[in-house]
């Protein structure tokens, strides 16, 4: 089977059936979550300042759920109504917009502290119509120009995507540069066919670089699949997250745990939902997956 972006326009490909298949696939959930954590790491937001983020191509909210969990306030845009519907059902906290990113954004200058995009940009490389304004370079130019203006100075946008060739990476980075972005590409696990991940790491201004020079963050190495290395990377990420939380002085409740469920239920009740299950001694117990 060829890549999804070659099969049909996104809003058709991600119809009702595919939207729920995609969202309920535990392997996809895991991969999207890992990449979202990595994107947040690359965003390098200042600790202790709760940020307002844009999730580009938010889909059904697999990436947005991580943003919720990490305490960010966010806005998500996606062109597939079925994906957004699943996001609503999953009660993500972000504001959702039906929007084609190839048409550009209308957000006021400096609106967001940062942007992430997980597994989306490859869709922009494929033209949907033969109309001249809809050629991939046109759509990419509109996208990057309006994104650049929607971001604060300094800030970053981190976009993970699946290019098919170096030419595609070249095209995308050159258009992003013309739109005013600095930065470049970070390739994690470059030598692993399976774990290799491409992150476009874009800076507005100096991107709040730690050092004076605009330096790209280091890529992860190894094959990403070997237990040891993988566990280490995950551990480091978790440690960073925890220290960020400590610095922000916020006590986060572990997602999925009993306290978290009780808190969510309470929130839903307060929001006037009347079908919230009552609390019992079984609340928050691990259940066997049945799909």
């Amino acid at each position: 089977m060829s890549r999804p972006e070659l099969q049909a326009p996104p809003e058709i490909y991600y119809g009702d059936a595919e939207a729920s298949k995609y969202t309920n696939n535990t392997r996809i959930q895991q991969i999207q979550a890992d990449m979202t954590y990595r994107a947040l790491e690359l965003l390098n937001l200042p600790p202790g300042e709760p940020a307002f983020l844009l999730d580009i191509g938010c889909g059904s909210g697999l990436s947005g759920e991580i943003l919720d969990e990490e305490g960010y306030v966010w806005v998500g845009v996606d062109v597939a109504p079925s994906m957004l519907e699943v996001a609503l059902e999953r009660e993500v906290e972000g504001d959702l917009f039906l929007q084609d990113i190839g048409q550009g954004f209308g957000f006021r200058p400096g609106s967001f502290d940062g942007a992430i995009s997980i597994s989306v940009l490859q869709w922009l490389l494929n033209a949907e119509t033969s109309h001249p304004t809809s050629s991939p370079p046109h759509r990419l130019a509109r996208f990057f120009t309006t994104l650049h203006s929607a971001l604060r100075n300094p800030s970053r946008a981190v976009l993970q995507f699946y290019p098919t060739s170096d030419d595609q990476v070249q095209l995308i980075t050159s258009i992003a540069q013309k739109a005013g972005f600095g930065g470049g590409v970070v390739v994690d696990y470059p030598n692993s066919k399976k774990a290799r991940k491409v992150f476009l790491c874009l800076f507005v201004g100096d991107g709040r670089a730690a050092s004076a020079a605009q330096q790209l963050p280091a890529a992860l190495d190894g094959d990403g699949g070997a237990e040891g290395k993988d566990a280490k990377a995950t551990f480091e990420k978790r440690r960073q997250r925890e220290s960020r939380r400590e610095k922000s002085g916020k006590q986060k409740v572990a997602k999925g745990g009993k306290d978290w469920i009780l808190r969510k239920k309470e929130l839903y009740r307060r929001r006037g939902k009347d079908d919230v299950p009552r609390d019992s001694k079984f609340t928050g117990r691990k259940r066997r997956a049945f799909f």
Partner: protein
């Protein structure tokens, strides 16, 4: 779900529509109030980005200044627009809101 915080950042993005294209005007809206965690640090960071005239125009809330951040929290993060539409004051483009999701798609001739 559109909260007023997001509406406060939203201008029309139709082709050539660059002046007087903000704020988008609400009509026929159905409001919903949903409680959210109070996060004073977030609000403090957001204050400089608020366009106050637009916010006052959009919220019919009377701000008694007892606790400004709490009021702002309520207006910006707990007030949702579930149904209705937003109209550009300049070109008149109507962005419909259904199920809490604004449709920002442009027709071919409106793409810049």
């Amino acid at each position: 779900m559109v909260r007023l915080i997001t509406h406060n950042l939203l201008a029309c993005h139709a082709k050539g529509c660059t002046t007087n294209n903000y704020p988008l005007k609400f009509s026929n809206v159905k409001l919903a109030l949903r409680e959210a965690d109070f996060n004073p640090d977030f609000l403090r960071g957001f204050l400089p980005r608020i366009e106050w005239d637009a916010l006052v125009q959009a919220s019919r809330e009377r701000c008694s200044t007892t606790d400004l951040l709490k009021q702002l929290h309520h207006v910006l993060l707990e007030t949702h627009i579930d149904e209705g539409s937003m109209t550009c004051p300049n070109c008149g483009h109507v962005y419909p809101i259904s199920n809490g999701i604004p449709n920002m798609l442009l027709a071919e001739h409106e793409i810049g």
